[in-house]
Symmetry: C2
Subunit: 283 residues, 2 copies
């Protein structure tokens, strides 16, 4: 592989560019974006070697799509149309069902590999790109059997080469489970931020009282609405289900408090301390 085209050179696309270039200095990283300013920034930051457009994709060995998931659904068929028969397209979206469905009957379906690298920060744009973001992280691959074996191999070599471990999953299961371990966290964080801002916005001094615990819990509320709105839209049914369960648990906690049943409150927390075991493997 020589010519890599990255569509969307923000947090994920830009960070992939850094790691791939470091590992493979011989590869040429081309950047594509709707906004010229984004490409200029990515070029100035050294994330990409060249600016490109969709019409250049005929030269692509690999295309990485890292744009909002609604834009991916719209653009993916066109991208597949434009690449050569030997080219591979991967995406990095946080939803998988709608994206896989968008190209299920595309004549070049076997040139596409659906991925979700579980990595990121709460920041966005080219300046958010950092090296080493994917080291030790999980990359979920969906419908691997639908991709040409040789292209699978190339992709897996590239992504394990920058430190990722690969897990295989079907798109429906991916979207269901990711709603719990990622999408719900974002909403809980956004609504925590909202609740506190609404109450305290006229009392800036109050935030002197906020410590690292609050900062950690509300961190994801800094995330990009441009990225997250289409994720919630595409994963609507699953996300609503997680939200209902979360609201039920919060309501039950509140009712236990109202009833002064602090033994039960203690047990709720004690049982949930089990999260320590779960988090051990997560960086």
């Amino acid at each position: 592989m020589k010519n890599i085209y990255i569509i969307g050179v923000g947090l994920i696309g830009g960070s992939l560019a850094i790691d791939i270039k470091k590992k493979h200095p011989e590869m040429v990283i081309h950047g594509i974006s709707r906004k010229e300013a984004t490409l200029d920034e990515a070029l100035a930051l050294g994330l990409i070697d060249r600016k490109a457009t969709l019409d250049d994709l005929i030269h692509a060995d690999l295309v990485i799509i890292s744009i909002p998931v609604d834009a991916t659904v719209k653009l993916l068929p066109t991208i597949l149309d434009k690449i050569p028969d030997t080219g591979l397209v991967v995406d990095a979206g946080s939803t998988k069902e709608a994206i896989c469905k968008a190209v299920e009957n595309h004549p070049k379906r076997r040139n596409f590999l659906a991925m979700h690298p579980i990595a990121g920060t709460e920041h966005s744009g080219p300046s958010a790109a950092i090296g080493g973001l994917f080291e030790g992280k999980t990359n979920i691959v969906c419908e691997v059997e639908k991709t040409t074996f040789k292209l699978q191999e190339k992709a897996l070599e590239l992504f394990t080469g920058i430190g990722m471990r690969i897990r295989y999953m079907n798109p429906v299961a991916h979207d269901k489970h990711i709603a719990y371990v990622s999408h719900l966290s974002h909403i809980s964080s956004f609504m925590l931020g909202k609740t506190v801002i609404e109450k305290e916005k006229n009392e800036r001094d109050i935030f002197d009282m906020a410590g690292s615990g609050f900062a950690s819990t509300v961190r994801l509320a800094k995330s990009s609405p441009e990225m997250w709105t289409p994720i919630f839209k595409q994963n609507k049914e699953n996300v609503i289900e997680t939200l209902e369960e979360y609201i039920d648990n919060l309501t039950q906690f509140k009712e236990l408090m109202k009833a002064d049943d602090f033994d039960a409150i203690f047990n709720e927390m004690k049982d949930t301390n089990y999260i320590k075991e779960i988090l051990k493997g997560i960086k």
Copy 2:
């Protein structure tokens, strides 16, 4: 000040011991605990110089109480009874109204300073103690006017000396605001952990999908139920109010999703991105 007695040598008490000893090697740190094993551990870790009991408090220049807030309410009058007239008692509890009330008519009220150092981690016990925990953090002092001026001075010198900035507040306002910026975060995190564990406990592989965002949001669910149950009990009315507002906001978000009003979802997140400004000052 020479003889410092720390009652409860866990995360907070132990971390204070480290910083105070580093700054003032001449001071002698005495540890007091209900559990002999805790004192042995604190001694082995070098957090304290000596083990002590409540009856030794007649020799105290300073007593620091860092135990669950219900135990503080019960023990504080006895501690004040036992210290010399020149001694100072401070507490480090996350609630202030009940603690201040417990000694409002105590003959040695002027020997007590109510404090809340806003610092911590999700870990507990002597082994959780770390140096530098209080550097740059806020220490809320309540009812400062009720403490003898000379003792106030000593305490403030000690706590600013280990890097804390002091903020003054009345206990009622403290408990109201801390419910938003600390207590609610703990419940949102515990219930997020509960929701995910309930759903995924038989599918350990799922947690391969959890990334740093989930880890950050759920981190406080590792916290000690022994510490947190009495906090929620003492601050019941305020915490229930924050929970109701939080549940309302989550429910509204869910309803917007159900109604496919993703423009409103976008705006909710965009508005809450304002949290970036708020978090700038928090380490």
